[in-house]
């Protein structure tokens, strides 16, 4: 018997667009759930227009929406609203990432949908949450990142903070949402009723402060987290060092410091008054950096220096560029990076499925939908509309589709 995917049989009504929400339903699609992506007529998810594009097809959209079914309709039309109400009765989950209040004005707020389907789990994703003084603000990854105190601890101390060139917050918020949704579904098994989940970018970014919040608070403000460029402000040596060719990440935490000294052939440093404790090493960081970088320059290549440190188990890494990471044999061997094929774009690489199940292999054959590609299938197959009714809705512009 062919194995059922892990979320086989679960049906998700997905009102999300852009990145945080679609990341959540992308993971669920990869676990075999049926995702009905509701796209707003006439253009659908705005990310369909994002670069990189080829043949009017966005690789960005494809990465986030493989394996979903697209239903594109005019949500302001009463006939569309009737379709959505019927779908709510047939789904296990409703997920949305509009600004707070919008889904209620569309007629699908929590109080409205729970009446239609008491078992439904609803998940709302927003930048700042459904409540609180900032909840009305428009939300993008970097905006919540700045409010979360995260941006302030990235970059050179005497320069403006630095902008990380990836949307860690949106993706992690999607993972948080998928996580909460699954537990609410598990709870439906016991209680028979669904509930509403309130997941925000701000909460999820702030959740990642493993040290800063407690250290500042418990020390009564004596420990002040601050950006410190390439090196940690409170632990040394921990940071990015100049190698013979490029940059190398090296950490020598408490017990690794003597190991690093030996590797450098400088056992004398273990007892050196300047470097005996972590506090002293932080205080004399500049000297420490010069010593380590001076030693690194003796190697012919970065790889040789990294190998020497890996041999004695001092944590070390090359700072890979994205093209280097894409080509790395480990990333390839594990499917951390994988090549997907899109009907319009052809083959290209994207990150792999990070959740790995021993009993369920990856689903490699997922396609991102064309706009409204599954309008007919959903209305006739799931809701029992006849072909003539679907054709009439298409003619009236209530249902929209495109060949890309």
């Amino acid at each position: 018997m062919a194995k059922q995917p892990i979320l086989d049989g679960y049906r998700i009504l997905d009102f999300t667009q852009y990145l945080a929400g679609p990341s959540a339903t992308r993971l669920m699609a990869e676990m075999g759930a049926e995702i009905i992506k509701v796209e707003m007529a006439p253009y659908g998810d705005p990310s369909r227009a994002f670069p990189y594009r080829k043949h009017k097809r966005s690789a960005y959209y494809v990465q986030q929406n493989r394996g979903k079914k697209s239903l594109c309709l005019d949500l302001k039309d009463e006939r569309s609203q009737a379709v959505v109400r019927e779908l709510i009765r047939e789904c296990d989950v409703l997920i949305e990432n509009y600004a707070p209040g919008v889904i209620g004005r569309l007629g699908f707020g929590w109080e409205q949908v729970r009446e239609l389907n008491p078992k439904l789990v609803m998940c709302s994703i927003s930048a700042f949450g459904q409540t609180g003084p900032l909840s009305h603000l428009s939300g993008f990854d970097y905006i919540a990142q700045a409010y979360a105190g995260v941006t302030s601890v990235i970059g050179e101390p005497d320069r403006p903070p630095s902008l990380p060139m990836l949307a860690i917050g949106d993706v992690t918020t999607g993972v948080h949402a998928a996580c909460a949704l699954g537990f609410a579904l598990l709870d439906v098994h016991r209680t028979g009723v669904g509930q509403h989940l309130d997941i925000s970018l701000l909460d999820c970014y702030f959740h990642q402060h493993e040290v800063n919040v407690q250290a500042y608070s418990a020390s009564g403000g004596k420990i002040v987290p601050r950006r410190a460029g390439s090196h940690h402000y409170a632990v040394a040596p921990t940071g990015i060092f100049r190698g013979p060719e490029g940059y190398i990440m090296i950490l020598a935490l408490l017990h690794q410091w003597p190991v690093l000294c030996k590797a450098m052939g400088r056992e004398d440093l273990i007892k050196d008054e300047r470097f005996k404790t972590n506090e002293l090493r932080v205080a004399n960081l500049q000297e420490l950096i010069e010593l380590i970088e001076g030693w690194l320059q003796r190697f012919p290549t970065d790889a040789a220096a990294i190998e020497a440190l890996q041999a004695v188990r001092v944590p070390v890494a090359p700072i890979l560029t994205v093209p280097q990471a894409i080509a790395h044999p480990h990333h390839r061997a594990r499917g951390t990076v994988r090549t997907v094929s899109d009907r319009m774009l052809g083959e290209f690489d994207m990150p792999g499925m990070p959740l790995r199940f021993s009993a369920h292999p990856d689903l490699p054959e997922l396609q991102a939908p064309f706009l409204g590609e599954h309008n007919g299938e959903i209305l006739t197959g799931l809701l029992g509309y006849d072909a003539a009714a679907v054709a009439e809705l298409e003619r009236a512009g209530v249902l929209v589709s495109a060949a890309h």
Partner: protein, 403 residues
Amino acid sequence: MQPRHVLDGFRVLDFTQYLAGPSASRLLVEMGAEVIKVEIAPGGDPTRLLPYRKNERSCYYVQQNRGKKGLCLDLRDARGRELLERLVATSDVLLENFSPGVIARLGFGWERVRELNPQIVMCSISGFGQDGPLAELQGIDIVAQAYAGVTDLIGEEDGPPALPLLSFGDVNTGVHAVAAINAALLNRTRTGKGQWLDISLLDCYYHCHEINVHAVSASGGALAPKRSGAHHYAVCPLGIFKGSRRWFMLMGSLHFWAPLCRVMEREDLIEHPDFATNEGRCARRGEVVALIEGWLQAQNDDDGVLARLQEARIPCAPVLTVAETIAHPHFRQRRTVRTIHDRHIGDFDIPGMPLRFSDYPEITELEAPLLGEHNAEILAGIGVAAEEIAALTQAGVLVGGDR
């Protein structure tokens, strides 16, 4: 009886230490699971020693381990292993983040664990995964970050990369692990069987590349993401701007350019051939940044400027320091930050529970365990007699501490 939270009645046997694994079991506790934290005698989780410490108690340890039950034992002793086998048989989840292979050498590899309990979900968390050429490397957040192509994208263009001073990767990996555990538990309601999960820091960091991987790959290398300091390399204006006193994150690209020009009373720039398109603005990034910063500073009123930009629905935020977030009314009202109490440290703040359920309020009364605090309770629960517990304690197989 009304369950306390979604995981009420689930038992987790937690072999994890440091951060990624404990973040996962921390979330499971906050959802009501019983988490038995197995700590290795004599010292337990090494984070018990991490600063900031007060009264010999680590805030770091407390933040990650509230609500868990502490079982501290000698894993090399056959009697200790036998007790753990009995706990495996009664648990729903086994979680570990040792280097690949270590848990099997301790006698709890997946093949053995599934024999002991076919329904158990086992989750292994590691730096680079259970297989592949890098599997043997230590699992440390920023090491995986560097290998994931993430570090290279942070910092000034003409300098070394910058180190983000928080562990995105570890915490995020914990969340990924919880998502996978959940899917496996949900699947178990249908199949009756558990399975083994392989979650890695590298995969979870790499998973956050929402653009970079496909952009490089699909463009055949024509697009090359790069670090570019405070401003985005391909979108303008998008970045961090200096106000009269503080830094602002500001997005004036796409359809936000026109309203931004109106707020700055520079309507002439909306359709200006040099500035109307993103490409044009990227080519004149220096001018655009100077224009915006000049306007921000001329107002000499950072709060007023922020209010006007937000009023016009232009994405804009003050770059708050951690201290400012802790005091912010939005964070307090939503409990994005919350004050907790520890028996030895007293009151202090930690980040809130990011998963919010309408049917279950946050469980507020969680205490991080003292070393081996729940040895007797846990073992009595699986039928070990009090005399035997005393004998094992005497023999040093079970260990306790006053912190």
